[in-house]
Symmetry: C2
Amino acid sequence: MESEKLEEDEQIEESPEDQPELDPAAYLEALLQKARQAMRPLSSVSTVVKNKALFAMAAGLEEQSEQLLVANAQDLEAFAEKQGNQALADRLTLTPERITEMANGIRTIAALRDPVGESLGLRQLPNGMQVGRIRVPIGVIGIVYESRPNVTADAAALCLKSGNVCVLRGGSEAIHSNTAIAEILSTTAQQAGIPDGAISFIERTERETVIDLLKQDAFIDLIIPRGGGSLMETVTTHATIPVIKHDKGVCHIFVDADADLDMARKICFNAKVQRPSTCNAVETLLVHQSVARPLLEELGKQLVEAKVEIRGCRKTCSLVPEAQPASEDDYGQEFLSLIVSIKVVKDIDQAMAHIERYGSCHTEAIVTKNYSRAMRFLREVDASAVMVNASTRLNDGYQFGLGAEIGISTTRIHARGPMGLEDLTCAKYIVQGAGQIRE
Amino acid sequence: MESEKLEEDEQIEESPEDQPELDPAAYLEALLQKARQAMRPLSSVSTVVKNKALFAMAAGLEEQSEQLLVANAQDLEAFAEKQGNQALADRLTLTPERITEMANGIRTIAALRDPVGESLGLRQLPNGMQVGRIRVPIGVIGIVYESRPNVTADAAALCLKSGNVCVLRGGSEAIHSNTAIAEILSTTAQQAGIPDGAISFIERTERETVIDLLKQDAFIDLIIPRGGGSLMETVTTHATIPVIKHDKGVCHIFVDADADLDMARKICFNAKVQRPSTCNAVETLLVHQSVARPLLEELGKQLVEAKVEIRGCRKTCSLVPEAQPASEDDYGQEFLSLIVSIKVVKDIDQAMAHIERYGSCHTEAIVTKNYSRAMRFLREVDASAVMVNASTRLNDGYQFGLGAEIGISTTRIHARGPMGLEDLTCAKYIVQGAGQIRE
């Protein structure tokens, strides 16, 4: 579930109507105190109870789908009044089918192995002391997101399964839907034996509340922001809590001189068209000059047919009649839509230099049959995932076999790339001694 | 090498004399640009070349020990003028023996296995795509420290071995020594084939420079602060870069009813006295009421003989004549000196509640022969290291077999506890496909 992103100007809006009566700071503090109090009890809840709670949460969403649809209608009405665009309205919309999907997503997470308590090896040291590490929950995780309402369910389920308290703060455009989902999840979880506060949802939508949240290092151990550039900027500037960003993807595919051109076309087309609003969709194709004509003449037609707008270098424009000349801004841009920039390059060095300059270290791919260039690309390109002969769209927790993911991390520490259940844990050292002291 | 810490008021001093001529911001930017440029070339330097450079660095320090001693004398003179305390002066002092130790520390790091390039497993997925992860350097690491000059050598060597560029910023009290050490390391490394800028040292000692450094997320990927509370506060408040803190340790030992009392006395004594200025030294002893008398009557004498000041609860004071009554402030305090607080508790629950309330999640130990209480303590206590029947002083990279460490992380993500070479890397996903696309 790589994050889909809203446009900059649609983020973190204020909607002062319908706010609870407490002042924002007092509201947040009360909520965080309750969340923190749930941390220790939650960390020792058994897998059996956690799974029981997850199944109850899934059933709760389905059983109360009427309520969810009513809440969702309120969001859609408000969104229509603001004349938001259709693609975003569609993403915001809940249907009975989507509620079932959301519930099944939670059931999938229930079926995954619980990472908590896993031993990461135990060694006997020369002094006879046994030292090992075991996975433990991180603690309290704040998730700030702007995406579709299903993120509320996914994030709550992943945090619960990994023994973490979650503090969720969704976008104002989905506030009624998110509030209703969170209420059902929290209530059903609690009935199944999960401590009150373990699934906490912030109902306030003022921007100050987000900024205040980012500074609560006494209560929160990790902040995961999922969204667009302005959210990332806010988080970077204000957070005093460790952050794992799920930031933008400016992804490239380099089609090498020795590429299987049919494969190259399929990969490029898939990476752009299959779901262009995601962070692992390709934004720029880099094409070796020796295969530019055979590749682009046909790929150009396919892309144009799929309504992709092509912004190309001079050579590209000469091969694809519909292409418009690319400006400097068209490189390094995350279009998140059916736009692609294409540049013909001299060789792999020029391609890798372009990626280094314009890429965001998210997902980078090469299409080639040449062994040494494939290996060089894998070794030298710096990204969360580097691929040979595969679509960038495959950089994803489900596709990589992690089962589920909270998003794709663009931070270089702790978790890089798809962030699954294991990445929602940390390790603690366990020492079993027999009286050892430091000499 | 768990960090030794300066007192609050001795941190990040300004010493405006002898500053280079560039204005601080321009100086820092030039330095960071050079450091960032070294990142990509350094990441692909072979282990052989890195090791050669490390041996050259070690030899360089020994060969130029005269210069180092002259520089160190300048620091000591300035320190004496400010009437700094003797313990700190001692820590600041270089001797030919300490220079040899520093050089041997670098040689030890050269002998460790290079973590870069290590495969973390490769799996074949249902669609035939092979997905694995390999360790890569994090990138550019900023290290802000206040400790002894040897940290300059340790940090530079650990970063170099793990393929990371380091940007070092030591305390003003050791500025001449650190500058001289860094100059030798950087020059000899470069002569051995390491890119210029890979070992960067900030010669400016203004506080603004640290604050400016913490905001350079375009150039630096990770900040590791090593020092006292005021440095941690500065970093938390100002950093826009991910931070792994090496913060304080308020460590406890709980002596259970079923403890081997002779073992308990040895462990408690060692944890307090062997090196009290370290973060893994014990600060508070919690003693089960049923063994308070036999344990404390003798342990009290031993501690008093070793010049330890005891601040105890009422029961403790009744058993140890030299003990003074503990105030509330004596619990949860990191004394970093020969002071210990002692509290007699009713049972393991009261002990764990005390640890949860006053501890800093650093190192916590139980002394017991009781299996179920040992397991419960290991499972329920939240700390970077939890120990049964061993001294808290053993929570250390060397002692845990990591070979060397950059410090003991108190951050809950990425690395928790002793942070060795592996923790100075991150993973990148590698995908080897045969034309796979996202369906």
